[in-house]
Assembly symmetry: D2
Homo-oligomer: 166 residues x 4
């Protein structure tokens, strides 16, 4: 089964530059994660942008949507910053015949206890097993964009249960 | 969604005892993996046995089958040694109304570059997204027991494509 | 042998807050490093401040000097940001009867490939084996403050060989 | 300062072979440790043998002694299994004009929480700062061969304080 992993930046790809005493979005970490996992999966990694998701504009989201819509792949993972992942997921709704799974991480992939490896494992699996639609694979669960929220205090995604959902 | 993770030993749970200069199956590593991933999943980890899968007897496999059959959970992950994972998977075929996903790892979970975290991410996702049946989640793919083989040289699971399958 | 580890912040203690999409100086990492190394050393860790060393003022350096001078310990390690470690080392010169070893790291201790564990190993050893004086233990070497420089491009400390030293 | 690191095997270099469900002494891990630490140290790594130290014979120790005696380096680190490190250290006593520091680890270097990186940091520092003699750098301390013991229960080296020392 062929899947493509589009990377857009976010915490998962943040690396540290001692030189500038700061964190910046670096190269996609998904490659290294999938190599170390020694996957037999037929996959491609393509970087669309390298941004903190708080800085995403409407144009950025439209660019991602166009990329996904015009992609020759039917099974797609998108790595994305966690802060506005849900907003981008909503923009991707309604694309037909494609399984789109968004993921990211709360800690940079280069951290020893990062959730990145686990989350990418979840996302590539969901992309292979779920039918067409847009999903968020975070914290061990699959969320629908209209029923997910980021709980900032607990530093995790949760089911959105109140009436405001949708 | 509630899932149970039955652990049976294997490389994934191997720890090192300098004292005896040897590796032994230790406590289930799945707990630590799921805690570090900060999952919101409703899960339980239960140890059935702690054995190298090369040492599994027919009785061991029957015990695992009885455990799974009588389980109140419908979504089940089983961590297992890689050498005879496929054999155990075949013994579990035919259990109705349960999604059973087997996984393990080529390197102990305590290794810095272990595939254990990735594989457990894949397995808990598959257990939530797939319908009833027995599956193997290894190396980023979902295999059916009758069409999987362990490629010992390449140290990975692959699709079994020849006629001998089944 | 008793040693004290004074922590002052810097990259070594930087942790990541996804919530704020930023890195901040957190609690001292030296404790965890020494625990995992299972040291039999008789040591104490004490936090003096939690700052990026680029933000250090003359007052901060005077505070560190007073702390060291008045310490009851003769063997002292100081963890410090790398950008102004040499400046602080120079301020500490001339304290009699104390072995003072400064260290830090180019990557936060929580990174999987951080140099923090190695550098702390070097520093606690130098603090036990060297005579009174001020030293910098970085990149596997022991530097004298007047003959050290941080090579920003190569992201490492080096011997300062030109005439401007001192 | 130039140092040589002779490797002889032991837990520090143990890697895991899923294929054989066992641990074996593999290639020297010191290279990777020193590369990741980005050392500016002028060093060479040379493998003398690849054995579990419990399997060392008198001939093996004589070979190590000859290697060290005839070495053109004056500052020498030897990585060695922990079980008989002290015995080998005693065989190396009396070599003049060389600083010889033995180290190893309780957990293989490839483990995420291994003590290998810390111990190698300690050993290369001790090799640069101490005068001629034979030392053991383990668990954050420098031991003299006649006054060290491995505490098997606590899984660490300690000072040998009773009269039997020597």
């Amino acid at each position: 089964m062929k899947i493509i992993i589009y990377t857009t930046g976010g915490t998962i790809d943040k690396v540290y530059f001692d030189q500038k005493s700061e964190y910046q979005v670096g190269d996609p970490q998904a490659n290294g994660v999938l190599e170390r996992a020694n996957v037999v999966l037929d996959y491609v990694v393509e970087s669309i942008m390298k941004k903190d998701s708080l800085d995403f504009t409407d144009e950025d989201r439209e660019l991602i949507r166009r990329k996904v819509e015009s992609s020759s792949f039917e099974r797609i993972v998108i790595t994305h910053g966690t802060d506005t992942m849900i907003a981008t997921a909503k923009v991707l709704k309604g694309i037909s015949d494609k399984t789109i799974v968004m993921t990211g991480s709360m800690y940079p992939a280069q951290f020893r206890d990062s959730d990145a490896v686990f989350n990418i494992g979840c996302a590539v699996t969901a992309a292979q097993t779920l039918g067409p639609g847009v999903y968020i694979a975070m914290n061990g669960c699959i969320f629908m964009p209209d029923h997910a929220r980021k709980n900032v205090e607990k530093n995790r995604f949760e089911e959105q249960t109140d009436n405001k959902a949708g």
